[in-house]
Symmetry: D2
Subunit: 406 residues, 4 copies
Amino acid sequence: MKDKAYVLFEEQQLARGIDVNHVKQKLAELKIETPSWGYGDSGTRFKVFQKEGVPRNPFEKMEDAAVVHRLTGLAPTVAIHIPWDQVDDYSKLRSHAENLGLRIGAVNPNLFQADEYMLGSVTNSDSKIRRMATDHLLACVDIAKETGSKDVSLWFADGTNYPGQGDIRKRKGWMQEALQEMYRALDPDMRMLIEYKCFEPAFYHTDLADWGMAYNMALKLGEQAQVLVDTGHHLPGANIEHIVAYLLDEKRLGGFHFNSRKYADDDLIVGTVNPYELFLIFYQILQGSMDEDEGIRSGVDKIAYMLDQSHNIEQKIPAMIRSVLNVQTQYAKALLVDHEEVAAAQKNNDVLAAEHAVRRAFEFDVTPLLHAVREEQGLPVDPMEAYLNSRYTAEIAGRGKGGASW
Amino acid sequence: MKDKAYVLFEEQQLARGIDVNHVKQKLAELKIETPSWGYGDSGTRFKVFQKEGVPRNPFEKMEDAAVVHRLTGLAPTVAIHIPWDQVDDYSKLRSHAENLGLRIGAVNPNLFQADEYMLGSVTNSDSKIRRMATDHLLACVDIAKETGSKDVSLWFADGTNYPGQGDIRKRKGWMQEALQEMYRALDPDMRMLIEYKCFEPAFYHTDLADWGMAYNMALKLGEQAQVLVDTGHHLPGANIEHIVAYLLDEKRLGGFHFNSRKYADDDLIVGTVNPYELFLIFYQILQGSMDEDEGIRSGVDKIAYMLDQSHNIEQKIPAMIRSVLNVQTQYAKALLVDHEEVAAAQKNNDVLAAEHAVRRAFEFDVTPLLHAVREEQGLPVDPMEAYLNSRYTAEIAGRGKGGASW
Amino acid sequence: MKDKAYVLFEEQQLARGIDVNHVKQKLAELKIETPSWGYGDSGTRFKVFQKEGVPRNPFEKMEDAAVVHRLTGLAPTVAIHIPWDQVDDYSKLRSHAENLGLRIGAVNPNLFQADEYMLGSVTNSDSKIRRMATDHLLACVDIAKETGSKDVSLWFADGTNYPGQGDIRKRKGWMQEALQEMYRALDPDMRMLIEYKCFEPAFYHTDLADWGMAYNMALKLGEQAQVLVDTGHHLPGANIEHIVAYLLDEKRLGGFHFNSRKYADDDLIVGTVNPYELFLIFYQILQGSMDEDEGIRSGVDKIAYMLDQSHNIEQKIPAMIRSVLNVQTQYAKALLVDHEEVAAAQKNNDVLAAEHAVRRAFEFDVTPLLHAVREEQGLPVDPMEAYLNSRYTAEIAGRGKGGASW
Amino acid sequence: MKDKAYVLFEEQQLARGIDVNHVKQKLAELKIETPSWGYGDSGTRFKVFQKEGVPRNPFEKMEDAAVVHRLTGLAPTVAIHIPWDQVDDYSKLRSHAENLGLRIGAVNPNLFQADEYMLGSVTNSDSKIRRMATDHLLACVDIAKETGSKDVSLWFADGTNYPGQGDIRKRKGWMQEALQEMYRALDPDMRMLIEYKCFEPAFYHTDLADWGMAYNMALKLGEQAQVLVDTGHHLPGANIEHIVAYLLDEKRLGGFHFNSRKYADDDLIVGTVNPYELFLIFYQILQGSMDEDEGIRSGVDKIAYMLDQSHNIEQKIPAMIRSVLNVQTQYAKALLVDHEEVAAAQKNNDVLAAEHAVRRAFEFDVTPLLHAVREEQGLPVDPMEAYLNSRYTAEIAGRGKGGASW
């Protein structure tokens, strides 16, 4: 049946003027970085439920990540978190990854779990703690150099819980000082990705609270500083795809932390709460990439697609497989938008036709297309099924419970 | 200066027709229950910062709570959480509390930290887990009887993270079954307080998501079932005082878990984010108590005022002192509302005058009044200062770090 | 191509165990009521943009509605709003509708546009205004009887803008009095549908603010009182499908006002902002209807699906066609959920499989199915195209600008 | 009693180290601009209730504004909206204002009520409409020059209701083009104040959606471009005082549109929903002004405090008097913050003391202080009472109903 379905799909899209080969090529190029910490246990403040088979160290995390990539072809890089993934010899971790067919992705400094950081890391009023935090940033730049990573990805928990607790403007200055020092340590081909978040764990003010604050910081630092959009880090109602289009236009969209949320930073599996939003994000990016064809450099090719989720109740590896597949699905749908049709409707002030032209692409079932793409790449047509039928879960059961967590 | 200030305050209020003696009597009757877990360490999913001197067991928690009550006169009861406060012999815990001048308050069953409860406790699809959860509820009723508590306070983390994960309506039925069984175990003078929460730790649906679901459950159970309002458990913009007035009118307002929030269930110190909201809650309650004077039983006298906060970065005992004082402050202000003035403005359709009549009470500085009330009760005029000048912090330092936490 | 597509669709679904004939029968039974006011001009507080060809009176509204029904087969009834649709002789309006192949649907009393209602209609502190409002409710019951309508649909703008402006509990009592009087006037086969809304136009408290308040009112009134869910009337993050499942379980889900929102009560075309949410609502309803097959009366068959939107910038008739088609699309997708697959995954505690079983249905492209259904009913395969190719727009241009608005 | 109260207040503050004379001087300098349109009728999309005595033209609006200023001493300037306040000869309007003791404040171009602007004004895809809109901006610069205004205040309703409706990035470019053209027309001592809004009347994306977009635009234009913060234009939970501190630090805080909101852009009277938030905004500004004393130019002295409210149910002049008094009250409280105490607590990492130091200032009753300030300025001690006792309401009754509205 699959063949028939794909043949029909191709006919349909051809009739719409969509170049399916181009679509397949773009799909073949899609890369989604999985986070090492997503293979470990995580939870809410109420409870971390431990799972059997969770990796016990960074090397085992790479092994699990390699399974995800082997089955999906989508996840060739793995982000690491320091010190969660601290090892004595990063060249060994790098070799281990490379032997598994992976590369180390973004390096994520952790500045929220040392006791010293209770009232801030780079924005702490104590200069010794700021020094300690900045040194950790610099150490992470070194780790990136050792592991061959080009991106250092920054999320700060820094903020305050009460009015008056901290001097908002002084903290702003301290943040800038620390980032400037780190920025100078980057090699010319490295990037600093600056994440923002509206709240949690700080409940009054967060030093980098929204895209505007991250963007403004990037402006002050230089072109290697870019903004990282975590899809769960916005206030209710925020139009994320608008922010994406805006940053793209300013050439400051560095990448994403994908996940789903209904309420706050729920960190659920991407594409499960409002899949249309994910599609619309890709629609904006693909629209931006058309400028590129016209010779305008938008930086679309450098956007880092990364996951950042908390698999509190899910089996870790299946959760990751589902996640990269969900991203692939919505990306595939976005590739079916007929941009000329949209532009024509916009030009005619035909609101209904323009809306429909975008949403129509979302309504196609891309399963036949994705099956075909996977077959052509020698991948299992249904990576989840392939995983569940594999012996990997049984193999890792020997790790027992109590693996890595945060 | 204090005396002059109080004399002036009394004159001012007399001129407005406020009976200051009545106000003082109401203030003398105010009781705020502190939670045993608020004396221990807590945090966010990102980090629990450990403090020195945190109590190591339920007995030490009572000792800290006794300090709060001794200095403020406001906190004669302490809520307990089972199994966090599990002891071999509850009569000993009760005696310990009573020797310290305290009583055990509401008993809170914990149904979210056993591994079995990952996908639900009383709403788990596995009947054995539901049995286990219901048995815990029944055990808590027994503990309440042993400790002399009259309230069992129920918060369920139960819910789902994804569409389809659970059968919403079946879970609703299971919740009802469990609560009915527990309800039958109550003595006639005991109450079941049913809490609700919009989200967290469940991120798709929460079985008891809002006041309506808690209320409806209470209706089905009987008059001893009442609704518990946690001020941090609502969606953005919810008018909490409206819910309070509504439940009061239906005679189903059982009590509160007070705390402050700006974003989600931030669990900050009550009265620090939007103190006017706390004042307006008390305004509604006091307005309801006027019906009582007219012979209508509203149950205002039985409302349990309890704290439920997470002192992630604060010193625990001072945080609790500040919290009960903040509640006292807003309650005192609410006692200064001239209800006849409000009613007259309402009758005249004078929107501005009615609004002002309420807000004016909020703008009075009640410090002189509270000083006077404390002096009359033989309490320190400034309980926080008294605590900070005491040797208690030094005394408990010997407990070291790593005390009770959740 | 269409035929091939449908054949393939049928094969696919058969392979999944879906009974396509049953699906088609359910689709043939789907009815969506359009609102008379949706054919007129509307806008925001900033501007009402007038469109050419907007109907100038209730009779012309019926003519436009008939076009929508003729092309889609989905919209056989039209809700009316009184006094917007006030006519001298309702039997004439009824005949006019019936001659056009329509019936009059829910009657909607308007209690927010008379000067008297500035501070409330049925909750006004002035008993004369309450009388006037209640009389209007009674008049609408009479109109319903004259027009053959079985539902009177109640939305109240009543509320306050400031703390203290009104007596919340007295207003609650007045609301109940008015509705009780109206309830008594209903024939046994008539229903009162009670709508709720969190805010707007009242910005402090709204007398019927959430489903709990509407439901509690319905409980007090009797079984003919049911709750009406407007999908735009909730606070950010509210899980609407949970509310739907809950009300269904209590046999109090009377119907819907469908529309889309991203922020507040945006009243956009249904299915354009988060189509998955609409799908999930239908998933809950269809799951509820399975109880019915098991002999449990859930009242699913009586749920009134109605639109309530504000077409501020859209062409009115095309907006309505698009709206009913969007509802049909998501309903069709929900009919493809394999409930046994979901139940099995739930039973196995397989969170990922359960989530996927539901979402998979959403990802099918139902276009071939809907084309087939329309062909079988003798309807145009693409009703929007059929409309745009028709001469109706040109015909109504003669009405000019300045038609009915609110 | 007033005297005693003030003497006591002065003693209290002296004891805290607050220089009451400095406070009084700052209060004497406070200026709040009232909007001409706030004197007219306004409403929600559901209804505009007409009031008796509403001004019928811009000249009468100035007369009403003069009453507010005469009684409060706080409101010497009046913002105008073009074309709502269009007159043949702006020098006449200016003279009229000056004869009444007023000056014309910010000029507000209206780009949302012409039929052409349905799909955008400066971001319309039609270059002719963009030209028309830009010309209106230029005309408003001219009007500002004629009326002696130094600020042109820009709020754009521009945005889209649906994904795909418009090209987000092209619209961004068009916005910039129009503002650049207008910017070039400014005299060197004039400012362009750029407002932002998250939604309404656009319900999918708004071209200038948040402070970051307004700020980035200002950066591109030059130093005369500043950001205008409307307190009702943020998503739920936004920390407005953080944004204020941030813009202040970047020297781009141009001014405010004050109003209150609980839900969306409710446009209620400032200081009635969460008065503490207004206080905290002033706390940040005053903290910023301390830098100035240290020789750093923050631009605090140029911040334009303006009202922008919708008095849907209130008497217009009393609503405006109440509003300016509410601003004055919170400003007075913020002047009582002991910044050294806050800084010391921050330095000691004493979270509770820092929070309390800020909140303590909020809890003082500043009524005696404000009475004293008014007496010293020869103003009525209670401006609201003075107004209600005046004959002005009776005088303007002759205007009848149906005055200016929008």
